[in-house]
Symmetry: C2
Subunit: 221 residues, 2 copies
DNA sequence: GCACTCGACACTGGATGCAATGTATACGTT
DNA sequence: AACGTATACATTGCATCCAGTGTCGAGTGC
């Protein structure tokens, strides 16, 4: 599928997720048309899809890049926790039943190691990206496309708001990835599920600490 | 938002979910235009959204109503289990913290009772619908819009394939709803989560029994 | 000097026109 | 009679066009 509408969707999504557009930015159809060198029709379709994904929001007059209020962030993290735990459990089950290839396991371990390495550098955006890659790899190994898709949506929302201010502490907890990985390698669904849930719980807590000062205010972020 | 595109989306979604269109049916833009008495532009946007929702699938030449293979069904149920458990947990937590109004609790109880009543009639479609309403009420009470949305997507997929063959046994397990409801009323997150997980697990098992004969074949359904 | 109003403009929603393409059918050939 | 090919048609993708509408600014009155 390499039609214009699909292309527009992918390019816009990319721009959204790599911090090229920031939360609150207003997007006009004509501006994007010029930017992407295509007509309004495919651009509109792409915008609608992004709207459906929750990455942009309609303001009655055009669309703006979505920003997540602390409230939204909390909701997203609750969802993420449940989904990630399920992914870890399914991946561990798959491993237990011998349905995971050595290549897949290798990729997971590599992704995990990559997060640790990046976390030690000053490249905050790179570290964030590595973290995302690890979690998406986990989703992939679950063998459940719907789950993968759901997690993809969540992470896209995270990406928009995170990459515009990664400068501040990245709040990564790479060591916990080890617990998830080892549980999967051992083919232990229970442990994998618990480790993933714990991992997300701590990440959410860390986020809460960083934001509890503005907790009572309206959605500023 | 009462523009044509939104309207087209809602009407098509309704038709999809109430069994008016069946899995595998081919949908042509012009046909829908005539049906809905509007131009192709809003219809196209609606179709794209439905595609993004997974309710229809592109075939390179037009779209067809999605059908879920037993594989897909299993994946959807795994996801549903995790999300429903989370919803029950959050709803119970909300109740525990006194954030649930008597009206909301009443609506939940009413929905639960409604499922039981309908299950005893021969109105399979009505019973199915009541079951959906109960689960969506649960999602609502979780207080997490993202979760509600995710569950909405899942159930829409279920609806498409279910309502076209509700004639066969509906596989409802209404009594288990009681366990969930009472746990929520007691404000016991742990118990609510466990009850919801158990409920979905059994439903999935029941479905498996009904379909394990064709388990090995390709996605026929 | 400030506020209110009127008008121009920018932008979106919807419709239609045009070109490209896949499919089905009919005809010819073997 | 069966198979292959060619042509006509159905249908999509994209671009452009038109109408409705909110917004911003300028000008005028108080």
């Amino acid at each position: 599928m390499h039609n214009q509408a699909e292309l527009a969707y992918r390019r816009l999504r990319e721009r959204l997720m790599d911090g090229h557009y920031n939360p609150g930015d207003r997007l006009t159809e004509l501006g994007i048309c010029e930017d992407l060198a295509m007509s309004r029709t495919p651009v509109r379709e792409a915008l609608r899809r992004l709207q459906s994904d929750g990455l942009v929001a309609s303001t009655g007059r055009g669309v703006v890049v979505s920003s997540l209020s602390p409230q939204d962030m909390q909701h997203a993290m609750q969802l993420h926790g449940a989904l990630d735990a399920l992914a870890a459990k399914l991946a561990a089950t798959a491993q237990h039943e011998g349905r995971l290839s050595p290549a897949q396991l290798g990729a997971l371990k590599r992704a995990s190691r990559n997060v640790e390495e990046r976390a030690e550098t000053s490249d905050a955006a790179g570290a964030w990206r590595a973290n995302l890659d690890f979690h998406m790899m986990l989703a992939r190994l679950s063998g459940n496309p719907l789950l993968e898709d759901a997690l993809d949506r969540i992470w896209a929302r995270f990406a928009i708001v995170s990459l515009s201010n990664v400068s501040r502490r990245t709040d990564l907890t790479p060591r916990q990835h080890d617990a998830i990985v080892s549980a999967i390698i051992d083919g232990d669904p229970q442990r994998a599920e618990a480790a993933a849930a714990e991992h997300v719980r701590e990440a959410a807590e860390m986020y809460g600490e960083g934001h509890q000062d503005r907790r009572s205010g309206p959605s500023a972020l």
